[in-house]
Structures are given as C-alpha cells and as structure tokens.
Symmetry: none
Subunit: 258 residues, 2 copies
DNA sequence: ATAAACAACTGGTCTGACCAGAGGAATGCG
DNA sequence: CGCATTCCTCTGGTCAGACCAGTTGTTTAT
C-alpha cells in the first residue's frame, strides 16, 4: 500500500532486498555466523542487479545485521540487543567528538537542573531525592560484584529526582533525551569507568556532595558540584579512550606497524 | 586506523561518502530541510562513481539522516524527532506555564551558545554573524510595515549563525528543536511583541549588543547579553499575557460575569 | 611434508546506458 | 489573458559489463 503523500513505488529494489534477507534471517533460514550466498548468487536468486543488491547489503551492514569481508563473503551478525536507531544516534556513534559536545551540553543542563532543584525543590522533592540517593548508596555498599545495569538505573533515578525537583518539564525532557543518547552509546565505557577504584571513589563522593547541596538548598554549590561531576566523567572517558588508543598503538608496534 | 581483526582498508568508498556528508551536516554546511546536490554533482565533487555514491546515500537513508524522492532530490532530514504528538509537545500545549520553562532552558542554551561563539568563533564565523546581523538591521530599518514572517526568519538566521559559531552540533540541534517548538506555539505573541515601539527598541539594542560581544570575542558579556535578551522576551510575553487576561476580565465584567 | 604458485572464488569500484518521476518553461487554445 | 497541455531538463532508480583487490583451496615442485 502506498503512503498517501509519497507516490513512489511500494519499495525500491534495494528495500526489497533488505526485506527479503531480513525475513530469511528472522525465519532462521540464515543464522547468525552463517555465510550468506555470494553477491552474484543472490543476484540470480533475487532477480536484481548487483548494484541494487549491493545497496541492499549496504543498508543491512549499516544496521549491523550483516558483516562483510572482501574476498571472503558476508555473514549474518550475531544477534544484538535492540538499539535506538534515531538519526542523531547514528551520527553520534560515527563521530566520537560529538560525545564531548553532548557532555558539554549535558553539563550545562545538569548544572542548571541542580541549581533549580536546590532553589525550587519542595519538601516532598527533597524526600524523593533523599530516597533515591539512599537507594543508590545502599546498593553500592552492599553489592559485590556490582551489576552495571542496576547501578545505571539507580544512578539515573537519582539524577532524575533532582531534575524533577527543578520543576521545569522542558529541562527534564531535554535532559532525558540527551541522557538516553549518552547511555546507549557509551554504556560500556561508563561501566568500565565505574569498575575502577579511583573513579568509583570520586563518583560516590560527588554524588554525596550533590545530594547535600540540593537537600540543603545551596543552589550555587549544587550547580558547581553537578558541573564538576560531568567534568570528571568527561575526563574519565577521555582517559579510557586514550588508554584504548595506547593499547592499539602498542599492538601495532608489536606487529611491526608502528 | 585499522580495526585489529579486520584487515580491509580503513574505509570503503561508500563509507567515505557517508563520513563526508555527515561531517557537512554536523558542520551546518548542509542543514535540515536543505536539498543535497544531485547525485551526479556529488559524484563529481567527491570523486566517486555513482554506484558507490548511491551505496553511501543508501546508508544515510537507512539511518534516517537524509530523505530521497525520485525526480526531486535528497534532503537532510530533521535529526531530532519533530512530531506533533511528541510528549514534550503535548506537555507544552496543555500547560501554558511550560512556555516559560521552555524560555528558561532556551536562555541557558542561548547564553552558552553566545559564550562559546565568542570563544570559539573563527574569522569566517564572525563574517557570517556580521552578515546575518547586517541583513537583520537593514530589513528592520527599511521595512514599513514589517513582515513578521520575514523578520522571524532573519532573527532566526542571526541567532543560528551565532549558535553555529559555538562549534557544538549537539547544542545547535538541541536549540533548533526548542526554537521550532517556541515559534510554532507563540508566534503570534512574538509578532505582537515586536510591533510595539518599546519592545522593538530594546530588542534591536540587545541584538546590537549581542553582535558586538560575539564579534569582539567577549565571552562573558555575550552570555550576559543573551541571557538578558531571553529574559526581556519572557517579561514581554508575560506582559502581553497579563494584558490579554485583563481584557478578558473586563469583557467578562461588561457581560455580567464579574 | 612444506612452501610456492595458481586458479577460482569472494567483495569493491567504476563506466555507460537507459528508465521513471518531478518540475519548470514554452506553446496553444478558449 | 488565463489555463491546460506538451515538452524539456532536471532528478533518482536500475541494470549490464568490465576490471581490480582480497581470500581460500588446489596443484605442483622441492
């Protein structure tokens, strides 16, 4: 069926390629790890040109559904958790510098969020913030090992309680979008960061300071602590990135590439 | 840099196409809604075959970054979701107070945008900012009566040029979304505001001060002027709202509702 | 048994041709 | 003069064929 405002055919040839291959994968005919038929054979089977097939395969590759190696073939990728496939997410993933742009904007908003929470928070808000903070602390002290997913949820609930205490829903929603973006893209790095003793200590200290500032209604201090928190996270992520690059470079030297 | 387990070249041609076009979008050279150069022209500019280009465009389309229509061309998609039924839009419409929440968040981001523009702006950026400012001033001085749509576009272009000079695409995109939201909901009030002699004067003065601060790279002053600008707009809108309420109340009294 | 060469696969890229859709300009008619 | 139709020039969509580069298995020589 045609979309009303768009009179192009139901599907372009490449879209048909994508749909049929995805269906074969969903049906289990093509399994993760299994080699796809060669491009030339797929052309024959699907009755399309190699250019159209390649466009379809390119889209599948872009989605992460298949992996292709020159001279070897394409394989169905291992099943992956469902991901946010918004356009900003794609741009974000492919341009690492944008991560720091995102952190920059987020720091600004988190700082303001903390400041407003200190200024505007009601007694009920402070009860909620206290509750979320205590849940976070209780988990961190008791859990061994720490489950990263659960920690992330508790961390998020804490920051969200502060944000909601700002009584600015636009701020809440905007930060939410940026937080979702951040978490879904660098979750592994944030997990890595928290599993290190040094960062874990200052993260916990900063959470304590942030909590105290909000609950004691010290607006400017809340803002400063929130900014410092995001700044520390950024520097931590940069260190992890630099360390990964050092590892890659030393590996390359070992292999005679340096 | 090569991925260790994968010895293929750093990027396939189509991947290069994707990277370059995404960079143009992130840099603001290609803007949401704007038509891309035709496929044949992009082939010339990028020095690739049409098949490789199409593979790259296919990947961009798959990511939702561009939209293509046969016979017409490809456009850059809006990167942040823009839907009438978004939660923020619902919140916004159903809670008039949220307008002031929006202005609050926007002031924060505009202030930071102006500050970063003053800090990071390149000479080319300042040329663009100057150009947009002069176009705005020229129109304001010459037009009688003023066309609100055109004024809004020029005003937006001026603020956008400043924002792009911040060199933070996340900030640009976030502000864009908030600005679209603002304009679509209170355009009539903003128009009303500008048609009054008092507000028109201080709006023009603040534009001049903002322009001077950005071009002379006075970061803190740029931030202050941007904040003051948004604060004045908020107070102006509140006055219009209060006036409308007074009108409504006196009408009700006339009709025996008081 | 092992190493090197070769062949037959694979994917990657390009060129050229042609088809189909969209939109603007030109022309003709009432 | 306005409107409808036709035509032209763009646009994207698809195809066929050629050739290059990488990978892998087979064959041959030592």
């Amino acid at each position: 069926m045609r979309d009303a405002p768009d009179s192009r055919p139901m599907a372009r040839t490449a879209d048909t390629v994508v749909a049929r291959l995805e269906q074969l994968i969903l049906d289990g005919v093509l399994k993760p790890g299994q080699l796809l038929p060669s491009e030339r054979r797929l052309c024959d089977k699907l009755g399309v040109s190699r250019a159209s097939l390649r466009e379809g395969l390119r889209a599948l590759r872009s989605k992460g559904i298949i992996e292709t190696h020159q001279g070897r073939g394409s394989t169905v990728a291992r099943l992956l958790p469902e991901r946010d496939d918004s356009p900003l997410m794609h741009l974000f993933r492919d341009h690492p510098r944008t991560l720091y742009d995102l952190l920059e904007v987020r720091a600004l908003l988190e700082g303001e969020s903390a400041r407003l929470a200190a200024l505007r928070g009601t007694p009920a808000d402070r009860v909620l913030v206290t509750r979320r903070y205590e849940e976070l602390v209780a988990y961190v002290e008791a859990a061994d090992p720490i489950d990263a997913e659960r920690l992330a949820r508790l961390d998020h609930a804490f920051h969200l309680a502060i944000c909601e205490a700002s009584h600015n829903p636009v701020l809440v929603h905007t930060l939410q979008g940026l937080t979702d973006l951040l978490l879904s893209s660098v979750f592994a790095s944030l997990k890595n960061l928290y599993h290190r003793p040094g960062p874990r200590t200052w993260i916990n200290e900063q959470h304590a300071q942030l909590f105290e500032a909000v609950v004691s209604q010290d607006a400017e201090r809340a803002r400063q602590v929130a900014l410092q928190h995001l700044d520390s996270i950024e520097r931590g992520l940069r260190e992890i990135e630099a360390e990964n690059e050092r590892l890659v470079r030393s590996s390359m030297r070992l292999e005679g590439w340096g």
